[in-house]
Each structure stands twice: as structure tokens, then as C-alpha cells.
């Protein structure tokens, strides 16, 4: 038996300071994304610098891009696409994944077997590959991107929710509810969901990181968000020519992605045990 020293501390909902920093950075990007059109110093499409790949200066805080446009404005607007698309996709993935997973655990039988087998098969297509195939077949407009990213991560969300729900499903109070004659929707949403909501939220965050990374990767390949819009991955893609000069236009969008994904990971790793492992 290993004695855990951390157990005695986590009696209340206490957040560690590392988790708070992560949360602050996430909040920062959320506010930036929300207020973007009101706080950009220059219009995103306007060429404000005669030189391209300009350095950081007091006039252009983050330098200029490959056409001489203001990088700070483009990153602020890019936050909208990276955060917005990923958030929409992760909601789609986690809501449908969790609903299907819980339903499969409660209903069981062939419904569970067929669904699990099918979603497991989809899960064994590497995510970037699905992205490439869909981009080739139907292009990459914003709605297509959101649906695609959401659907790619449904199997993972399903698997996670199902494994949690299977454990809860064996509890006495579920048997009681069923004996009482409650229907499947009631059992799923009123008996199972409240007992696994903590881990599901943590999973939501992890999957958000996956989606941000996949979206950035696809945009970096030039197959994600298309001009005139640009998310952070697309900003790296269009400015990759500045890499040999070490231009801020290539480095800053990458740092923006990293700050967001690392913050979400930090926040989740430092969630109070009570929220994260509630069903454990």
C-alpha cells in the first residue's frame, strides 16, 4: 500500500495555483475571442507595413505578416476561429458521445455491441487521416470543419462515458429506478449523468485540446480554415516563409496555440480530486 500525502489535503474544493494560472490564461483567450472585433488595433485585411515579416515594434506590437499586415490583429481575430470552432466541435463530440455511451451502458444487448464495435472501428482511423479524407471529399468550409472535428472525437467520448456509466449502472439505486418503471431517458439523465459529470467535464477539456491540435494541424497543412479567415494554425501556414528569418509572424501563433493547450492541460491536471474522480 502506498500512503498518499496528497489525499489529506484535498478535503474541500481547493484549486492549486498552477490550476488557477491555467484557468486565467483560458479566460484571457476566451475574452479576447469574444471581444476580438472591438480590440484589434488595425483591420485584419489592411496592409500597414511596407516591409513584410517585420519585427516587433511599438507601432506593430507583434510585427507584420507575409503581406505586411498587423500580426497582433490577425492573432486576436484568429483566437475567434481556433477557440470558436474547437468549442463548437467539442460540444458536438462530448454531448453526442456521452449520450450514446450512457444509453449503450443502460440498454446493453445488441445495441451496445453493434454501436461499440462500429465506433471502435471509426476510432482506429488516425484523426489526421480522417481530416485529410474529408477535406478531399467535401472541402473545408467552417460548418464542415466543425462537424468533422466533432464526429472524429465522438468514438473517444463514447468509450469514456460508456466505461464510467457501466460501473454506475450496476448500483442498487439504478435497479430501484428501473423497478419503479422509469424509462431509459430518465435513468440516463437523472440517475447516471449526475454521478459521472465530473470526469465527463475533465474529458471535455482533454478532448478540447485534441481538437485544437487537430484543427491547427489541418490548417497548418492548408486544409483547415480557408482564407480570408485564418485561425492560428492557418497563420503559421501562411507565414511559414518567414521561418528562415525567425520572423515573429511564425513563432507567435504557435505560442498562442501552445499557451491555450498547455493551460487546459494544467487546469485539468490540477482540478480538485473531488471533481475529477468523483465516480472513482
Amino acid at each position: 500500500m502506498t500512503t498518499s500525502t496528497t489525499m489529506s489535503r484535498s478535503t474541500g474544493y481547493r484549486f492549486s495555483w498552477i490550476g488557477m494560472i491555467g484557468f486565467a490564461i483560458i479566460l484571457f483567450w476566451a475574452i479576447i475571442a469574444f471581444l476580438a472585433p472591438h480590440i484589434i488595433p488595425y483591420p485584419v485585411g489592411e496592409i500597414v507595413d511596407e516591409d513584410y515579416f517585420g519585427p516587433m515594434s511599438s507601432k506593430l506590437l507583434l510585427g507584420s505578416d507575409y503581406l505586411g499586415r498587423d500580426m497582433l490583429s490577425r492573432i486576436i481575430m484568429g483566437a475567434r476561429y481556433t477557440v470558436g470552432i474547437s468549442l463548437a466541435a467539442v460540444c458536438l463530440a462530448c454531448f453526442s458521445g456521452a449520450a450514446l455511451g450512457m444509453a449503450a451502458a443502460v440498454i446493453g444487448g445488441w445495441f451496445d455491441t453493434v454501436l461499440s464495435r462500429f465506433l471502435d472501428a471509426l476510432n482506429s482511423i488516425p484523426s489526421k487521416l480522417s481530416g485529410l479524407v474529408v477535406a478531399a471529399a467535401v472541402g473545408s468550409s467552417l460548418p464542415v470543419l466543425i462537424i468533422m472535428l466533432g464526429v472524429i472525437y465522438i468514438p473517444g467520448a463514447y468509450r469514456f462515458a460508456r466505461s464510467l456509466a457501466v460501473n454506475v449502472n450496476t448500483m442498487d439505486y439504478i435497479t430501484v429506478a428501473r423497478t419503479r418503471g422509469e424509462g431509459i431517458p430518465y435513468v440516463v439523465f437523472s440517475e447516471i449523468l449526475p454521478n459521472i459529470i465530473g470526469p465527463l467535464l475533465a474529458d471535455f477539456g482533454i478532448r478540447f485540446v485534441f481538437i485544437v491540435l487537430l484543427l491547427s494541424g489541418l490548417s497548418f497543412l492548408g486544409l483547415g480554415v480557408q482564407p480570408p479567415y485564418a485561425d492560428w494554425g492557418a497563420l503559421v501556414h501562411e507565414n511559414i516563409g518567414g521561418l528562415p528569418f525567425g520572423a515573429p509572424a511564425v513563432i507567435v501563433p504557435s505560442l498562442a496555440i501552445a499557451s491555450l493547450t498547455i493551460s487546459v492541460n494544467l487546469l485539468i491536471d490540477n482540478l480538485p480530486k473531488k471533481i475529477r474522480d468523483r465516480s472513482a
Binding site: 478531399a136 492548408g222 513563432i251
Partner: protein, 316 residues
């Protein structure tokens, strides 16, 4: 007991085959159901209706989708990957040499990543909670949390922009000396090794820590064995299965990494071919590349599962 293990393995192989069938189905229908008529797209706006109808018949486009799927799958099984829409060359010909390139890149990365990750992962587990362990953990989480292209661009910034040791984003075709080969492979290999090792270190560390937490390792420590001896002699032999499993699983991250790395470094591999195929919408090429990647990915995952089965003494 031996029959039981054989049964488990056959079961895994069978389910891998079934998965592959579902995957090929998904890939085919994702690409075949696209809006627009392929024959019209191929011949252009000015084509006569007769020409379009002729091409449709020649490409079997007028048959129901299910028959086309069956025909395509049957072709795949016989090694017929179809013909590229863009330059009318058999896809197998396009893929051939590039497949070898990609496998070579993956092989070199594996050669570097496995010893590196095992050393770091096992030592981090051995000194769990130490400063060394924390540094390794923070670095691996950092690498996992950022996109692959950021690792690649950072490597370029460090090695070619600041240190000026290596060429930047070009894949030179005029290779004459061993030294040049080394320089060409250096950057893709460094990037992929980072991506794959981060996963492998994490999983190896977790696997070893799992074993260290068992009562028999505790007993070894209580009887007076040193920490090093308890881990290396008592825990490690029992962690071989989970570690092999971790290696195979983390190698599956090569599939995603190689797509980014081949594109950014212009490496003439099959992933670059596929990304180019996506921009020209060359569907037979994309389908074949996707299936090849899926087979590689599935093979690694299935291998990991079978290793886990074989390494578990309770079923052996």
C-alpha cells in the same frame, strides 16, 4: 491454457480484420459520396454528354455504390490500387518508391526513439517525485500539448536559424555524400523522435510505476533491496509486457506526425503524396494512401494488444 491464448489472439486478429473492413467502407463512402459527378469534373465543363456517359461507363460510375465498393475492395485485395485521376498513372506506381521512403524514416525514428524513451521512462519511474522526474514529466507534457508543426518549426529555428548547423526547409535531391544524407534526415528524424518519444516516455513511466506499486516490489524494498535493485531486478521483468505495449501504441503516433513532418520538410514520402493528392482531389490516390496508413496504425495497435495478452502470466 495455450488454446485459450491462441483463442484470444485469433479473436484480436479477427476483430482487426473486421475493423479494417469497416474502415475501408468508411473511407470509400466518405470519398465516393462527394457532391458532383467525377466524370464531369475530370472532363471539364466543355465535355459532350456522350463523352461523359462513356467515361462514366468506363469507370463503372453508373453502377450502384455498393458494387463499386465491392469492386474497389476486390481490387485492393489483389494489389490493384486503381489509377490516379490526375496523371493517369497506376496508383501503385506512384506509391511504390515513396512508401519505402516513409518506412525508412519511420524505421530510423524508431531506432532512436525506443532506447531514448526506455532510458528516460524507466529512470523517471525509478526516481519518482525527484526533480529529475518532474523535469522529464513537464517536458513530455509540454511536447504532447503542442501541435507537431510547432516541434518542427522550433527545431528549424534552433538548428538552422540560430545554430546554422542544418539546412532549413528544403529536401535537396542532389545527394552525393553520406554527410548530406545525414543532414537531410536530421531534422525530420529529430522532430518525429520528439513527438513519438514524449508519448513513449509517459507510457513507459506509467507502466513501470504500476509494477512498482505491487506488493512484491514493496516486499523486495522491505527485505532491504536498494531502490535500483527493486526496480531493475524485481519490477522490470514483469513490466516488459506493458512496456512493449506502450512502445507499439506510441509508435502509432508516427502516423499523425509523419503527415506534418513530410509536408513541412518536403520529404518525398507517402504522406506528402497524400497531402498533395488532397489539394488536387485525386481520390483513388487518397483512398489507397488512407488504407495503407490505417493498416499500419491497426497493425501497431493489434500488435500492442497481442503483446499485452502474451505478457500477462495469468492467461499464459
Amino acid at each position: 491454457m495455450r488454446n485459450y491464448v491462441l483463442g484470444l489472439i485469433t479473436n484480436r486478429l479477427g476483430s482487426a480484420a473486421l475493423t479494417l473492413l469497416i474502415v475501408s467502407f468508411a473511407v470509400f463512402f466518405a470519398t465516393a459520396m462527394l457532391p458532383g459527378d467525377t466524370a464531369t469534373i475530370l472532363l471539364g465543363q466543355a465535355a459532350t454528354p456522350e463523352a461523359v456517359a462513356g467515361l462514366r461507363a468506363a469507370m463503372h460510375l453508373d453502377e450502384p455504390a455498393f458494387f463499386r465498393f465491392a469492386r474497389w475492395l476486390f481490387g485492393l485485395l489483389q494489389g490493384d490500387l486503381g489509377t490516379s485521376y490526375v496523371n493517369n498513372v497506376p496508383v501503385a506506381e506512384l506509391i511504390g518508391a515513396r512508401f519505402v521512403n516513409t518506412m525508412r524514416l519511420a524505421g530510423i525514428v524508431t531506432l532512436f526513439a525506443v532506447p531514448l524513451s526506455l532510458t528516460l521512462g524507466i529512470t523517471a519511474a525509478m526516481f519518482r517525485g525527484s526533480v529529475y522526474d518532474r523535469i522529464v514529466t513537464v517536458l513530455t507534457i509540454g511536447v504532447i500539448s503542442v501541435p507537431e508543426f510547432m516541434i518542427a518549426t522550433s527545431a528549424v529555428l534552433l538548428f538552422s536559424v540560430y545554430l546554422k548547423w542544418l539546412p532549413a526547409l528544403s529536401f535537396a535531391s542532389d545527394v552525393t555524400s553520406f554527410w548530406q544524407v545525414l543532414k537531410i534526415y536530421a531534422m525530420p528524424v529529430i522532430t518525429l523522435t520528439f513527438v513519438v518519444s514524449a508519448q513513449m516516455i509517459r507510457m513507459t513511466r506509467a507502466a513501470v510505476i504500476d509494477t512498482i506499486n505491487t506488493p512484491y516490489v514493496e516486499a523486495a524494498i522491505l527485505k532491504g533491496a536498494s531502490r535500483r535493485r527493486a526496480v531493475l531486478v524485481h519490477a522490470l521483468p514483469n513490466a516488459v509486457g506493458p512496456i512493449a505495449n506502450a512502445i507499439a501504441l506510441s509508435l502509432s503516433y508516427l502516423v499523425g506526425g509523419v503527415i506534418i513532418v513530410e509536408t513541412i520538410f518536403n520529404y518525398p514520402g507517402i504522406a506528402k503524396l497524400m497531402v498533395d493528392g488532397v489539394s488536387t482531389r485525386d481520390l483513388p490516390l487518397i483512398q489507397s494512401c488512407a488504407i495503407i496508413f490505417c493498416i499500419g496504425y491497426l497493425a501497431l495497435i493489434t500488435f500492442a494488444d497481442i503483446v499485452a495478452i502474451l505478457a500477462n502470466p495469468r492467461v499464459r
